[in-house]
């Protein structure tokens, strides 16, 4: 008798894959813009990261969606990958360990979503 046990693993793989693609495509550019070029004023104007400008981007429908997708999918991708990597160091995927990693991703997602909602449209 063959019985297929329903598994929640595909959900986490999907989030891992989505975050993997998104961070591969946009991660390097985003880190460079918001973390290096913007703050140091390399190749970007001084007001590139000004409050008004970033607020406008976060209030734009596409900008808001892009920011949320990046933060949330990056977090889920990293949580899943690091969960698998700590296994390689002898920390096994118990429900407790999984809850910590996926829980962090969930908190990051919720904080980002509520912040982006509260800046309005």
């Amino acid at each position: 008798m063959n019985r297929i046990t329903p598994s929640n693993a595909p959900i986490f793989w999907l989030l891992f894959g989505a975050g993997g693609v998104l961070s591969a495509l946009f991660g390097s550019a985003l880190v460079f813009i918001t973390g290096i070029a913007g703050p140091l004023g390399i190749g970007l104007s001084a007001d590139a990261l000004s409050y008004q400008r970033v607020l406008g981007f976060a209030q734009n429908f596409i900008g808001k969606g892009f920011l949320l997708a990046c933060i949330a999918f990056f977090a889920w991708h990293a949580a899943h990958r690091l969960l698998c990597t700590v296994h390689d160091f002898g920390i096994h995927k118990t429900v407790f360990v999984k809850s910590i990693f996926y829980g962090c991703a969930m908190v990051i997602t919720l904080v980002a979503a509520s912040s982006l909602l509260s800046v309005g449209f």
């Binding site: 975050g19 993997g20 693609v21 961070s23 591969a24 495509l25 946009f26 991660g27 390097s28 550019a29 985003l30 880190v31 460079f32 813009i33 918001t34 973390g35 290096i36 070029a37 913007g38 703050p39 140091l40 190749g43 970007l44 104007s45 590139a48 990261l49 409050y51 008004q52 400008r53 970033v54 607020l55 406008g56 981007f57 976060a58 920011l67 990046c70 933060i71 990056f74 977090a75 991708h77 990293a78 949580a79 990958r81 690091l82 698998c84 990597t85 390689d88 002898g90 990051i108 904080v111 980002a112 509520s114 912040s115 982006l116 509260s118 800046v119």
Partner: protein, 136 residues
């Protein structure tokens, strides 16, 4: 007495530092560790939108923190991690996705990898253009 207890059962080789045994394992570990950069940046960006939602003063505080030498150094390591991730992600892609066929021929893995890298370059340029010319 203790040694006697220990000697029971089959021999088990220690797994401590296993990933240092082979260059292939080291490469694997470097690739997996790129997730630290992705995680770190997600947290930085999360604080960014959180501070943005708290008003101009809060945002300027975040921006000032981003200008600190420690933050610049951190973002340089994030950048390195992101590049390692982008490179390796598309190197692995031919092995993780279903086989693609074109004109009865299987699309070679190297084509998929190079296409991924090319799309990354285009996406990076588009992101840069938006950062440079976006009008609020």
């Amino acid at each position: 007495m203790n040694t006697q207890v220990k000697s029971r059962g089959p021999y088990k080789r220690s797994m401590t530092g296993w990933w240092k045994r082979d260059p292939f394992f080291m490469k694997y570990m470097v690739r997996e560790m790129s997730a630290l950069a992705v995680a770190g940046y997600a947290i930085v960006l999360m604080f960014g939108v959180l501070r943005l939602s708290q008003g101009e003063a809060a945002w300027n505080g975040w921006l000032a923190a981003m200008k600190s030498p420690l933050s610049i150094l951190l973002h340089l390591t994030f950048l390195l991690g992101m590049v390692v991730h982008a490179k390796s992600w598309f190197e692995i892609m031919p092995k993780t996705m279903p086989a693609m066929h074109s004109g009865g021929q299987r699309v070679p893995g190297s084509t998929i990898t190079r296409t991924g890298w090319a799309v990354t370059v285009v996406a990076s340029l588009v992101t840069w253009a938006i950062a440079a010319w976006w009008k609020a």
